[in-house]
């Protein structure tokens, strides 16, 4: 039994699924309509990665993006998130298997931070991308999903409202 949430059923677009496979790990899957080689490049070339890693809807702007996708190579992404200081995310590539597999550490929170592993499986010209984020503890993963605290509160409020309406309607 696992937690799993999928995108809109029946939508034509490829669906992004998120599954919390354990207290410490969350797995995201998505099929991309392109060969693994191209998807891998989009993950590992800075000028491509910077165009999609931080979409506008995240409310952050990418200020710089450096990527050295070799084992032992480092990456560094700097964001403007509307705060006083920009936020930097950085780490080291620990596995690089061209067009098949990538793994990197996330060191902005200090040592022993989460490790992200991405596999690329090509099937008939399309690529199944599986992203695994393994966190050191349940608490770390719980916190990772939240993003800005305000946004979390907002989500809960919306959900509470929804549930409240459901309950009232049902009782009438």
């Amino acid at each position: 039994m696992r937690a799993r949430i999928e995108g809109e059923p029946g939508s034509v677009a490829n669906r992004t699924t998120v599954e919390r496979t354990s207290d410490c790990e969350v797995v995201v899957t998505r099929t991309v309509d392109a060969p693994a080689r191209l998807v891998f490049e989009a993950f590992t070339r800075a000028e491509l990665l910077r165009r999609w890693w931080v979409p506008r809807s995240m409310g952050m702007t990418l200020l710089s993006c450096e990527v050295d996708a070799r084992v032992g190579g480092r990456y560094r992404l700097v964001f403007d998130h509307g705060g006083a200081e920009p936020a930097a995310f950085f780490g080291t590539y620990v596995e690089v298997e061209p067009y098949a597999r990538l793994a990197w550490t996330n060191e902005e929170g200090g040592e022993g931070g989460p490790v992200t592993t991405v596999t690329f499986e090509e099937q008939g010209g399309r690529t199944l991308v599986v992203v695994r984020e393994r966190h050191p503890s349940k608490e770390a993963l719980d916190a990772a999903g939240t993003g800005a605290a305000e946004a979390m509160v907002e989500t809960f409020e919306q959900l509470d409202e929804l549930l409240a309406v459901e309950l009232v309607d049902g009782h009438r």
Binding site: M1, R2, A3, R4, I5, E6, G7, A13, N14, T16, T17, V18, R20, T21, S22, D23, V26, V28, R30, V32, D33, A34, L38, V39, E41, A42, L48, R51, W52, W53, V54, P55, S57, M58, V129, V131, D142, G145, T146, G147, A151, M152, T155, F156, L159, D160, L163, E166, L167, V168, G170, H171
Partner: protein, 121 residues
């Protein structure tokens, strides 16, 4: 706890499919109540109300506690809603990312196509 979400969601939806049980939740949202009081309010037998409360309890929506001969019911923790919100938020973030990735790889695919045509020409 979170990994049981899918099964718990099923149990929750089943629990919420009944008007009496939704009414009980609404009632417990106002104040804790004994099974006897709930049975009276919803004009049903104790046995009937015990069954409904049991379904809500298994879904994690209600907890009960027996003091002496009285079993008191209260709303369960908000965990379920929180878990669902956590996952959905995570999913949306990645979904937005992948949509942007789609555009990038579509452009790469077009470029390769035109490069290949130039090579042949």
């Amino acid at each position: 706890m979170v990994q049981y979400l899918a099964a718990r969601l099923d149990a929750s939806f089943a629990a919420l499919s009944d008007a009496t049980r939704r009414g009980v939740l609404e009632e417990l949202g106002r104040a804790d109540a004994s099974i006897t009081a709930l049975a009276e309010q919803f004009q049903m037998t104790l046995t009937g109300m015990r069954k409904h409360v049991g379904v809500l309890e298994r879904a994690g929506l209600v907890t009960t506690r027996k003091v002496g001969r009285v079993r008191t019911c209260r709303l369960g923790p908000r965990r379920l809603a929180e878990e669902a919100a956590w996952l959905e938020r995570y999913r949306r973030r990645w979904d937005a990312r992948f949509e942007a990735l789609d555009e990038v790889v579509a452009e790469l695919t077009r470029q390769e196509g035109s490069d290949a045509r130039e090579d042949r020409g």
